[in-house]
Symmetry: C3
Subunit: 333 residues, 3 copies
């Protein structure tokens, strides 16, 4: 598997400086790339690595062009493009297509697809997947192995569902009944837009009465829990182990860091960003970054501070008392 | 799929005000229900929605009867019942039964069930499930798709296990041995009572020597981790992404919020409630609600407060010093 | 299933005090073991249980030998060994082997193994597993049921992968592109050493360009997320629901408690221990225990302290102001 630089710029554009006939055998990080490998520089803070890089060619932005050309190795071969990171993303896609390794359309013989499910002929249903009655799988969508899409759930076009994903299990709904729990059957389904990616073992529950909705372009990492009746707006991205509790609404272009969490029935505006391991306990209606994590420390310090934290309210009262005493003193003649 | 109001009250009781021949085509939330849909009002704080609701009929408690009858739409049609939320739960069950959509008894041909497993003939083992040697599945229990029940584990009657559930993987037990880990084979199993529901991709580990025990009526949401030797008491309910570490004992009628966690070897009394994302680090022997979460804030505020928190113990010392100095001043003549 | 004490010491060593012909029908905790059962005492804090134990025989260290011999039941029968916990671990292994219950080599007929995967003939591929093209499974490695090993991923020898494990799903990599996300194809794979155990539904993502690496002897519990390009050093152990974000490097002999988390691109030195539910937000280059958890409290106290915590930085400023005022007073004549 190899591509020449001329094949690459023919496919992806960019201004090539260097020999177009050079063959690229792989993509690699800037600091470890060797001859025959292509690297990229996006973040200016790694510019030091540029001069020393042994990469056959380097993808850079216009501001780095001079530095790239001055690189001793390979006569400073480089591809100049306005957004090197985006170029790199497209290059990985080109690379994968060229390797001929993509999923093939059709239903793997080991998959269990209900006769009343509707699967687009260009979709790929991998080994040991389950697609239940009334489910719909859109064009060019890929279910890797061991994915379940439950009754009546709809997946749009060009989606990618990784192994172990569960779409449309029952939402967690029970009415209390004399100390026990009476099940609320979950009569809604899940509706997933186009261009959505869902990571391994992630779960999206079906709605209680109406659908749980994942809009176009949303990206979900692994082991995420999406509760019933949730709506996630376009192009939002949630990192691994995050969770959104039932009936929460997340706007467009939001992000949730790893193990970040949104409580039920809350609303997050567009462009709200929740930091890793932080818990949104109230609606966040202004764009911005929100955090709430106890800072890590060596265990002995943490123990002392945590113990004191349990007295914090009383400390504030003591501080107030001192302030009052001080004010009195200052007002004394 | 439709039911008349008279069919509904015939099945579930309640006092119907309005035309029993009216046909209900679906259940819907109070604020969005249209003609032909049935809604309910349980929480008095939503009573404003009642007057405006276009629902064909509304399920209400006795205290709301007058308000329901005064509703302009559909002559104030309503069903009055002591517990509207419980009535609604039962209605969802009736609806699902009437739709004929429940699981069918028997073992799906794609499931792998060991010849030495015992599966009740009324149980339903869905596609691509694995039931290992010595496992027992009780009457009317449903394993949706891709569930694993490992060797010798027992599931009671009327349980519901969602896709991806793993019952009886090895508990996490190792003895340190010269810098490496020596495996402790997990010789116990898992014992699950009746009427237990287990959410998608949730894991319950087998015991080291004795069984991990989940008592009757327990409800577990998705992506939950239950360690070896744990016992969870009757009718406790754990929300998504929560975790109970090895050898912890949770009483009856407890709840754990999403991503809440109980450390190993702890005991929670009956009726203990752990808030979302809170970590029980000590046994909690008194009923009540327990919490421990860093409050979310905009990132700039959080950073300042978190940095100060790392000095909290020293702040307390400084406060004490001030208090002493102040006491001295006050005791001076 | 039973073993005599003489068979046990013949296999595992140790100094037997008591009748070697006694038959052991099971292993049990010290406090509940009955006649016919074997128990062990490792932690001296449980020595009180020793005198009262009804176990047929007790495994103890040299320091407990006298106390064990003085036990009234069964004439103080005991096995003395330098490390009773390690002895117990090996005994569980002996027990399991003797029960004949281990996995059998070979590929279960329901598994889907690509023709271009390489599976050692001594490996065991359980029901409904998926092993993709180019994957390699080492000698004596066991994939329980419903495990996915994706393209080109390598698993070493004597590994144990529990149900639902996903090795080699795509890492979470996207380049922003005009408000949407452009996929970065993940061209690396996953490389797992020897003697690694991986818990149920745990996910290890493939690298972006190079491999995600799990070194020899690592133990991962259930529902863990390992991001792309991560490296975990030898004999490190991570408890359930923990997560390691992309490109983090964890040294050898580290531990991460349940739901502990390491942010991306960080480095943990050898012998770093992260407490349960704590988030490593910076590299930790010194061995030791690190923690960061808001201490749990009854909800009313927590609410007060959490509210005050949001003002902590201002409290510190007020404290400073008081200190200054106090200093001024003290410096006054």
């Amino acid at each position: 598997m190899a591509l020449t630089l001329s094949e690459i710029v023919a496919a992806l554009g960019g201004q090539l400086h260097g020999d177009p006939a050079v063959t690229i055998a792989g993509l690699a990080p800037l600091e470890s790339a060797g001859a025959g490998e292509l690297a990229f520089l996006s973040n200016p803070k790694y510019r030091q690595q540029l001069a020393a890089s042994q990469a056959a060619c380097v993808i850079v932005g216009p501001a780095m062009q001079a530095a790239a050309l001055a690189r001793p190795a390979h006569g400073g071969a480089c591809i100049v493009t306005p957004d090197p990171y985006l170029y790199f993303a497209r290059l990985t896609q080109l690379w994968r297509r060229a390797s001929g390794r993509g999923p093939k359309p059709g239903i793997h013989p080991s998959a269990v697809v209900d006769a009343e499910a509707i699967v687009d002929p260009t979709a790929s249903i991998g080994p040991l997947c389950v697609v239940e009655r009334g489910a719909r799988i859109g064009a060019h969508t890929v279910l890797k192995s061991r994915v379940t899409v439950s009754e009546d759930c709809r997946i749009g076009a060009r989606c990618l569902l990784h192994p172990g994903v569960v779409i449309g299990a029952d939402g967690f709904g029970f009415a209390p009944n004399a100390g026990a729990w009476e099940k609320i059957e979950q009569l809604g389904a899940v509706s997933i837009g186009d261009d959505v990616e869902i990571g391994a073992n992630t779960c999206i529950d079906r709605g209680a009465l109406q659908d749980t909705v994942i809009e176009d372009g949303v990206k979900l990492d692994n082991l995420i829990q999406i509760g019933h009746n949730v709506r996630i707006g376009k192009h939002s991205a949630l990192a691994g182990c995050s969770a959104v509790a039932g009936s929460a609404t997340i706007g467009a272009h939001c992000t949730v860091g790893g193990a970040g969490m949104v409580l039920g029935h809350l609303t997050l505006a567009d462009n709200v960003h929740i930091s890793a391991a932080s818990l949104a306990t109230r609606s966040l209606l202004k764009p911005g970054q929100y955090s709430g994590v106890f800072p890590i420390d060596d265990n002995a310090n943490w123990e002392k501070n945590a113990a004191t934290l349990r007295q914090l309210h009383k400390l504030r009262d003591r501080l107030r008392a001192l302030e009052k005493s001080n004010e009195q003193r200052l007002s004394e003649p």
